[in-house]
Subunit: 196 residues, 2 copies
DNA sequence: ATGGTTCTGGACCGGCGGGTACAGTCGAAG
DNA sequence: CTTCGACTGTACCCGCCGGTCCAGAACCAT
């Protein structure tokens, strides 16, 4: 089992791993480095994560995935007016602009993502939840007559997801959030169109 | 200098590295593995790439970047009608659907991309060229009266780029090209809108 | 053929990093 | 205060992998 002290240590390790990934990049992350930053050693590390590095990295991925959605609250839950959508857009852009070049989640996924099913599940869950929230917002707007009824909300939400992911990908490699804004705004403009 | 034989060997090495990255993922790529697949040894490897692994990987990245644009020809150069746009879209989706989970370029960039300026330049060049081609196509359509004149071609082309990158990113982690299609189609629908 | 260059094979090295072993220390329950 | 499990520090192991070295084979020009 886990005592309070143990839990705190475990948390310190995950935090340290997350920071280490952000600052040095996934390929430069070492267990020793994580140990040093969290003021622990490999013995603790393997005590809390018996399966070693992979298990630890997975824990970090789960934590980061939760954070992605949390950072969009409360805006993501109140997409019932154009102002609200704009607010959400601004929060999202700002969040990623600040994060800048370092996308711990993306890096984590591309690194361990396609090999282990567990990591893949983390991505799937995040993407699905995110998209559902957007779709719910679109449908709310349709119910209020603000978006044409003939817009396919699944497709639109899916496109929005791709726009976000792509914008962030380009942000990571170029450092500019311009594409993210372009893509987001184009999607929103599309939704705002009154007549097809 | 380089003899014909040497050039062939060099090519074999780059090919082998590209395949190795596709099949095993960047983190599992080793010089020994590349040597084995290309029926060479590390001595040749360092003979043709004195700066070692990084230089080799960069060469692979350059090759893959060129291929990305080549694979879209001739469609990318003839975006002068809606049918042509549709053809381009289909070619793109099919290309990435076939490539499936393995995106050597993306992987390469996220791995060595943000650290070395040389690798960053490869991405920038690809993205810029690609976007310019799209923008030229949009402007051609505008000149022909097929797209509203008040559409900002730079923004639209940028959004299209983000849509593609995001769609591919999701394709890589989920295996489905659905999002890529949604995003592409939404952008094209947006361009097709007659009245704002 | 002969000299010089390019090309190739194979043995070697050094350190880095994930993982293990073990001997403790702490802390709470009885 | 004892006891037992959770917790922690240290030292160690070992396989892997990027990189080096050098001797020799192949190739090319004159």
């Amino acid at each position: 089992m886990l005592t309070a002290k143990g839990l705190a240590t475990r948390e310190r390790i995950v935090d340290a791993a997350a920071v280490e990934i952000r600052e040095r990049g996934i390929s430069a992350v070492t267990l020793d480095g994580i140990g040093q930053r969290s003021r622990t050693g490999k013995s603790q590390l393997f005590h809390y994560f018996p399966d070693g590095k992979e298990q630890l990295l997975l824990a970090v991925a789960e934590r980061e995935a939760e954070r992605v959605l949390e950072d969009q609250e409360p805006q993501l839950g109140q997409l019932a007016s154009w102002d609200a959508w704009q607010d959400w857009r601004d929060v999202l852009v700002e969040r990623y602009r600040r994060q800048g070049v370092h996308c711990p989640l993306g890096v984590l996924i591309t690194e361990i993502g396609r090999h282990t099913p567990a990591a893949q599940a983390v991505t799937d869950k995040l993407l699905t939840q995110w998209q559902q929230r957007l779709q719910a917002g679109i449908e709310e707007m349709q119910a209020a007559g603000e978006i044409r009824a003939d817009v396919d909300s699944t497709r639109a939400a899916g496109a929005l997801m791709a726009a976000i992911q792509g914008g962030v990908a380009i942000l990571m490699s170029s450092g500019s959030a311009q594409h993210l804004e372009y893509a987001l705004d184009l999607c929103l403009d599309y939704l705002r169109v009154k007549t097809s």
